[in-house]
């Protein structure tokens, strides 16, 4: 069909041209807004993903669970399409209507993940009303990092944090929620995530005692490393697990990691779509892309974390792991933690 170029069609083309240009620009400008932890969206992966989809991926990295909550809740899910969140935190996002369930048909790679992550109904917290609100991606345990020169034999229990021997040589983590949970495990309380008022009072006293043994409370792994370098530090409550271990070893620290006998709290990070997701297909393509064996392998090599597709040695076969859960009252724990910190 050859169209004779008349003045009229030429005019038509001239008028249509900006519209055509606009639409192709709109496609090229397709953008995925990702919120992730460092290590979950490396530059080479982003580059490959962008080449595959023709979209651009804009990643905002976060440093704490609270930051994710503040950003997602603060914008009612509108500022991001897909975000990394752990299963403990996930519930309040689902409760708050801040997530969109996944379409598993768009995630073929999820069929080939490790057995324990394959049946999503068996993974605590990711399903709601038969719908998967999050896809497991990465996990790790929160045990103890110890300096091999200063702690011998290696610690096997969280009680080491209360040991007078290490007074002023301990780095703890600045977060009431986790501190109450691990102290509950230390005290032998069966469910560390749902504490009675009585248990809380007991734990508060115990934590106040730990505070007096602590050099400082840190919030980021870099901060802990810097504190370790310029101080006499023997024990670190390793909130960032293997990531922290790797960074410290890379920096030449003579340290080792151990999961204590009481059981280490362990987190499981997932990918969830926000309620404000603009392009579901693109967001699912991102998640499916990251569930490749190659990416899982690289993720573990680079961060030391366990991934959901390839077996790794993130935790020993006999190590007891206690999967983190939403706690009974985070505000209460935060308030009590403030009270502990305010004590002289």
């Amino acid at each position: 069909m050859t169209a004779k170029l008349t003045r009229r069609t030429a005019l038509g083309l001239a008028l249509a041209a900006p519209a055509i240009l606009r639409s192709s620009r709109a496609y090229a400008a397709k953008e995925l807004r990702v919120m992730a932890w460092q290590g979950y969206a490396d530059d080479d992966w982003i580059k490959e993903f962008q080449e595959l989809t023709g979209a651009s991926a804009k990643v905002v990295f976060v440093g704490t669970d609270d930051e994710i909550w503040a950003k997602i809740k603060g914008s009612e899910g509108k500022d991001f399409d897909v975000f990394a969140v752990n299963t403990a935190q996930l519930r309040r996002y689902i409760d708050g209507g801040l997530t969109t369930p996944h379409d598993l048909a768009k995630l073929p790679n999820q069929k080939d993940v490790l057995p324990r992550f394959r049946d999503l109904a068996a993974v605590k917290g990711v399903m709601r009303d038969g719908k998967a609100h999050a896809i497991p991606f990465c996990f790790d345990a929160i045990g103890i990092i110890y300096d091999k020169d200063k702690v011998n034999p290696p610690p096997d229990s969280f009680e080491a944090f209360w040991d007078e021997k290490y007074k002023g040589k301990i780095l703890a983590y600045d977060n009431g929620e986790h501190n109450f949970s691990f102290t509950a495990l230390t005290l032998g309380i069966a469910d560390p995530f749902h504490l009675s008022a009585e248990d809380m009072a007991k734990i508060k006293d115990k934590l106040a005692a730990m505070k007096r043994n602590v050099l400082s409370f840190y919030t980021t792994p870099d901060e802990a490393l810097q504190l370790y370098k310029s101080n006499d530090v023997a024990l670190i409550w390793a909130n960032y697990g293997q990531q922290q271990v790797k960074a410290m070893k890379d920096a030449g620290a003579n340290i080792e990691y151990v999961n204590p006998k009481e059981g280490a709290l362990a987190w499981l990070d997932t990918w969830a779509l926000t309620s404000g997701v603009q392009d579901v297909d693109l967001a699912e393509a991102w998640v499916n892309f990251l569930l490749q064996k190659k990416i899982g392998q690289q993720l573990s090599e680079r961060t030391g974390f366990g991934n959901t597709v390839v077996e790794t040695g993130s935790a020993g076969a006999n190590d007891k792991l206690v999967w983190l859960d939403f706690v009974e009252d985070p505000t209460k724990r935060s308030d009590l933690w403030n009270e502990i910190k305010a004590q002289p």
Partner: protein, 285 residues
């Protein structure tokens, strides 16, 4: 309104007035008002409930930690203000004594740290203060001490020291300006009349620079009391200040209304201090 005199007629002054009053209203007034509004809201099941309630303020006055921590924070910041002013005064005095280009060059040098990122400065100070930080290693090396000092390692002393170091430039500037404004004829007259240097300093220079000193102390106090990062970074297990509590309400606790109420209380303290400073200044001006 610096151009008001040159363009007395036409729409320009009015436009300028709109900007002069409008911008502060939008960028200062409105956020403060929203804080005030949030502070009377409440939380229920993780959601912010709009409505009028004074329960947040009630909690501030009845809670076990809030008033004591605020009081300790005020004392800490008073100490920071006193230290920064005490250290800033001689520096400003020396600068004001200098002549010509050199004095403005050195003044600029004093202000250079303000161009650096605040967090980088804290990090730097932290590696100086640590148990085997620069200071301790230096003192050990010189043989002044036998084993590392813990005096400035992650406690309130460290917060005091760090805040002082960070805020000294804010103390130097107003003092320098007030010293510079003292006419040299006063000082000449004083010595002509037989006063010693010390007498001239005590009877002429110091009283005339008092407004600058008060401004400096007010500046430093206000900046220190709003700081929540320094106590976290160098305060260790004891560095808990009011700013930390406010901060935690917006993060961990996700209790914005209570955080807003605490911020309003902090604002009241700050406004009171500024008002007091202003009054003192007027009395000495």
């Amino acid at each position: 309104m610096i151009f008001a005199g040159s363009a007395r007629s036409g729409p320009a002054p009015r436009l300028l007035a709109v900007f002069a009053y409008g911008l502060p209203l939008i960028f200062i007034g409105a956020p403060l008002l929203s804080f005030l509004a949030y502070s009377v809201f409440t939380m229920a099941d993780g959601q912010i409930v709009a409505g009028f309630s004074l329960s947040n303020y009630q909690r501030f006055f009845t809670g076990a930690i809030f008033l004591p921590v605020l009081w300790q924070t005020c004392l800490l910041c008073l100490a920071v203000a006193a230290l920064a002013t005490a250290i800033g005064f001689p520096v400003a005095f020396l600068l004001a004594q200098m002549k010509g280009r050199r004095r403005y060059f050195l003044l600029l040098m004093v202000l250079v740290p303000l161009l650096m990122s605040y967090i980088i400065k804290i990090y730097a100070i932290r590696s100086i203060l640590g148990g085997n930080g620069f200071l301790n290693r230096f003192l050990l090396w010189t043989g002044v001490i036998g084993e590392p000092l813990t005096l400035f390692v992650f406690n309130l002393n460290a917060v005091l020291l760090t805040l002082t170091v960070l805020l000294i430039p804010f103390a130097i500037l107003p003092i320098f300006l007030s010293l510079e404004r003292i006419p040299s004829s006063y000082i000449e007259a004083s010595s002509d009349l037989g006063a010693s240097n010390l007498q001239t300093f005590a009877r002429i220079v110091l009283p005339l620079s008092l407004p600058g000193i008060v401004t400096a102390a007010t500046f430093v106090f206000v900046l220190a009391i709003g700081d929540f990062l320094t106590p976290q970074m160098v305060g260790g297990q004891n560095g808990f200040t009011f700013g930390r509590i406010v901060y935690s309400q917006f993060g961990t606790a996700f209790n914005w209304p209570f955080g807003a109420a605490l911020a309003v209380i902090l604002a009241v303290v700050v406004i009171a201090v500024i008002a007091l400073g202003g009054r003192l200044e007027r009395r000495h001006a």
